[in-house]
Symmetry: C2
Amino acid sequence: MDALSINTIRGLCLDAVQQAESGHPGTPMDIAPVAYTLWQRFLRFDPADPIWPNRDRFVLSEGHASALLWSLLHLTGVRAVDPDYEVLGRSAVTLEDLKTFRRLDSHAPGHPEYRWTSGVEATTGPLGQGVAMSVGMAMAGQWLAARYNRNGFPIFDFDVYAIAGDGCMMEGVSSEAASLAGHQRLTNLCWIYDSNRVTIEGRTDIAFTEDLAARFIAYGWNVATVADANDVDQVARALHSFKAERERPTLIVVHSHIGYGSPLEGSPRVHGEPLGVEAVKATKRFLGMPEDAEFFIPDGVYDWFAKGIGRRGADARAEWEARFKEYASVHPEPADEIERMQRRELPDGWEDVLPSFPPDPKGTATRASSGQVLNAVAEAVPWLLGGSADLAPSTKTRLTSDGAGDFQPGERGGRNFHFGVREHTAAAIANGMALTKLRPYWSGFLIFSDYARGAIRLSALMEIPVVHIFTHDSIGVGEDGPTHQPVEQLASLRAMPGLLVFRPADANEVVEAWRLIAGLRREPAALVLSRQPLPTLDRSRLNGADGVAKGAYVLADAPNGRVDVILLATGSEVALAVAVREELAGEGIGVRVVSMPCWELFERQPREYRDRVLPPEVTARVGIEQASTLGWDRYVGPEGAVVGMHTFGASAPLKQLLSKFGFTPEKVSGIARELAMRRKEVR
Amino acid sequence: MDALSINTIRGLCLDAVQQAESGHPGTPMDIAPVAYTLWQRFLRFDPADPIWPNRDRFVLSEGHASALLWSLLHLTGVRAVDPDYEVLGRSAVTLEDLKTFRRLDSHAPGHPEYRWTSGVEATTGPLGQGVAMSVGMAMAGQWLAARYNRNGFPIFDFDVYAIAGDGCMMEGVSSEAASLAGHQRLTNLCWIYDSNRVTIEGRTDIAFTEDLAARFIAYGWNVATVADANDVDQVARALHSFKAERERPTLIVVHSHIGYGSPLEGSPRVHGEPLGVEAVKATKRFLGMPEDAEFFIPDGVYDWFAKGIGRRGADARAEWEARFKEYASVHPEPADEIERMQRRELPDGWEDVLPSFPPDPKGTATRASSGQVLNAVAEAVPWLLGGSADLAPSTKTRLTSDGAGDFQPGERGGRNFHFGVREHTAAAIANGMALTKLRPYWSGFLIFSDYARGAIRLSALMEIPVVHIFTHDSIGVGEDGPTHQPVEQLASLRAMPGLLVFRPADANEVVEAWRLIAGLRREPAALVLSRQPLPTLDRSRLNGADGVAKGAYVLADAPNGRVDVILLATGSEVALAVAVREELAGEGIGVRVVSMPCWELFERQPREYRDRVLPPEVTARVGIEQASTLGWDRYVGPEGAVVGMHTFGASAPLKQLLSKFGFTPEKVSGIARELAMRRKEVR
């Protein structure tokens, strides 16, 4: 039955790719026996409830082998789950889905897509991301165990498996993740390296000849080797060595043959295109499968999976549910936390903890006020946790309350994570934690969001509520100069679908931003903060910061209600706009100041609100932002102006930079005055 | 004199940071003896000509230790160089520059900046970039030697050194670079790892406990260790082991003490802020330097450097110049190439090789036509070379002419580089090659530009002519789905100052883009290309592709000269615009089609040209681009519309996607018709 099941999977993959006339047949063919063995004999996973909290996690990091995952989800009968986390009666992947692999609306798309197909633990395809996220899942597992397990109640003890290809192993993000996983001694983590020695350009030895096993031993991993991917007993022995390991994460190096059994076995040509009808038949013959039957599932195969992974998973879940019920009666509070977490809900009354800040002309850096608010929210939401890519003292993201502590081997309840100087993996780990239903954040300087974009994008694509905290958000960085001064990063983040980008203007906008961010259930946010102090605006003379919820709002209107010119700004430039408004008021020029902390939310408002904030007839508008001007024309229009950055910055104290780049009351009021005058003339 | 020189450097660094009231004193203090030993005893570098082609390269990858570099450049008397590569009489870094460290216009900015201060081989600061670029420099050195050295004429035999900190070693990009350098057996490459065990969050053992030496041995490196950074003889022995190594790149692990000699030695607090006046004095006392003298340079120190690195460098350069003169007389052609390359000039008549493409309604993918043009240009420009992050068969960037070959150990003249699945390091290596005056390109899918942004940004900041080639540029990717379909990448690249982003519409626009790109001397370009075939437009009925030089041009005007609506498009959407124009012409609606392959070049045109292409009075405008709409409002204005992407894509054949996302003649003509009608009504 092992061989029959494996070859059934292979046959489905071949047919799916051939039918689609596109896809990646080679990898599913080579690694099918390993995935089969893992699922059928080891994975603690109940197809009837694919979101059971204590299930083992399986991440197909070589996401281009998606046909393999679709076949497994189909054969094991994994159920679909709706967006509110209700398990449905229908299958996650039907035979019809397999037959429409890679077509619009099929639940078997080109790469595994979280949300779209249940049973997919993480969206993968961009290489290296899956393994890096698996580290976050394993950390989350350790943290959940430390926080929630009680004597006699092992509520969380799941393992995390990831299958990676050559590409995953070459990507820097996986090196970062492996180094950190070794440091953290994540015994619940198992990577399976599908070493098929072939990539798109040819044999891996044209670019990749390192001693990979030795590298992982150097990281502090347990390394096992499987000489032949087709030997399921050898695969099982290697997986047993993972289960037995008590000190280190485990890497299983599996030697495999890309396109196994096909006429093109071992060739790069089998990687990324269908085999062709004749070669598919030849392969089926080799595998002992009927060559003319498509999407063929021999009698007994469904049943075999039902008796293997199915029964094991059902038993484990039933046992766990009984245990959890008892746990809930003895320990109602942690049980309540676990249940809320699964639904992505927060504790009742969490908003009550939000502080408010009195006016202060000297003010505070938004990174500092955010640190304060973060700590307040974290008191109310115990599963809000995170860390920094070695910049916590600068990004002010350390959780300081009693017992928050560091997450380290032997201290698994700590809520502060040291990611090291590894931004890309920090973001990917945060993704992995969010996929495990924690509420993670990670932080770094805004400039280094560039290093992490691959993972930030996945948080947006997966629609998971990761908080990306970026400080040192402009030329406000000062002396460190252009290498550290973001210019294009704000626009780059705003261009990303599904990511909410907040750049609050003062401490009270920070509070409102956090109110929105903490409440997010399906969206990631980027919180963009200043290094330098910003005045805490006097809201008694201005409108309240609750306008943040609408993305942009009138912070201060023209003194006499007649708007001659609108100043639009975000973050550190809002106070500048307020100052210019006051200056021009003295000249009888009516200035409205609009604070625009979150463009994406503003775009979601009805046109009526948007036109109220930015009346179409007031075309005299000045946008002010210490960043690339890309995108601002939408708000300032063809008759407006933008005071922004058109070049990289420079190394100098901020005051010199403000003057050099024109972020001064003189410069801005000059532009605003001219536009207002032109408008008055027209009138 | 060794100790005195080292402590002079330390004193200058202390004073510079203290005077600036910001900066990083700890690292220069710890690694000064190593940098000193390298420069004074090993580096083949003539301060009187810091751009001599066969000099050894020194990259300070831990760029935050810039004060160390400024001190060395000052003490060795390195000359300034002007933008046209003329060596000037004045110093690159004067004492006054040191005294204005990190102030506006000082030649001693916060981080090393290429161009701005001569003697800086690469802009560094974003961690890991420097070491990755050093791999590109070492590869360039090997390639130059293979191509240009002749019997008796070792024209190129330089070594490349990089000093890296803990952060550099944790970043994924350095792992990628190290793996590839090991594979390539770059014997001319030496990394010095300043292991001071302290980062911003604390001791490195909170996040970084791997056996780093073992990891590098696994990559195939020679690893030497220096137990005490202060022991210059031990440092020298380690550097000799590098010079003696014949098979592998060398890593020297130097154990050092951050903030050596200061009261804060060994503390994270000494990393990123000034010591304070009293601690500076105490440190100077410890070092035996006069505590009240600032920027103190003891008698004899300048002279000592002049006799060491100065004399050695001058002798080496004189010998090389004599050799080169003889070489030029025996081998005038390669000598001419070397000289042109240094000035970033191309061979005469290189443009003659550019092909032109006949009209073809079926057409060709722009990745394919670009491959053809690239190969033509490469025939004319022998030092144009590059490779792909394992996607050359897909990106069509392989150089196929006789002898182009692969660059591998033992085949150093090859012009095709296999970077492996390592986008970030591929771009960084291209930077390193460009800094060595080669004309490199690298290629990948546009989606993976995200992985390489750190390095792409540096190419723009350094103003070096790297060609970033990105194919599979939209939902045109089709079945691979949203993980592989770029949406926000175009806007992200356009937001970057100094990067020219080209998205050509057909094969002839590709030719014109390459004409501009090949001629660039100080700007990097991103060339964004389609996976799918695009019609080669019939230019006899449309305007010529030479309009690409202006960034945007009228491809086809309204048939009767009366423009009712303007369609603006780039790349694959231009043919769609042309089709809509024809359709609407039948209805008497006058459509102008503007192709906008390069926004940045269009912005450089005089207003008169821009207004001619986009007359302000024609406010009925539709932008069409399969990408985030961010930035388009600038061109379509408040009364226009954009057909773009507002979400991520989906996995499906392209035809289904075009329909789903509205890139069809029906949809676009509907919008254009409505806008044109509204305009007519107004009229």
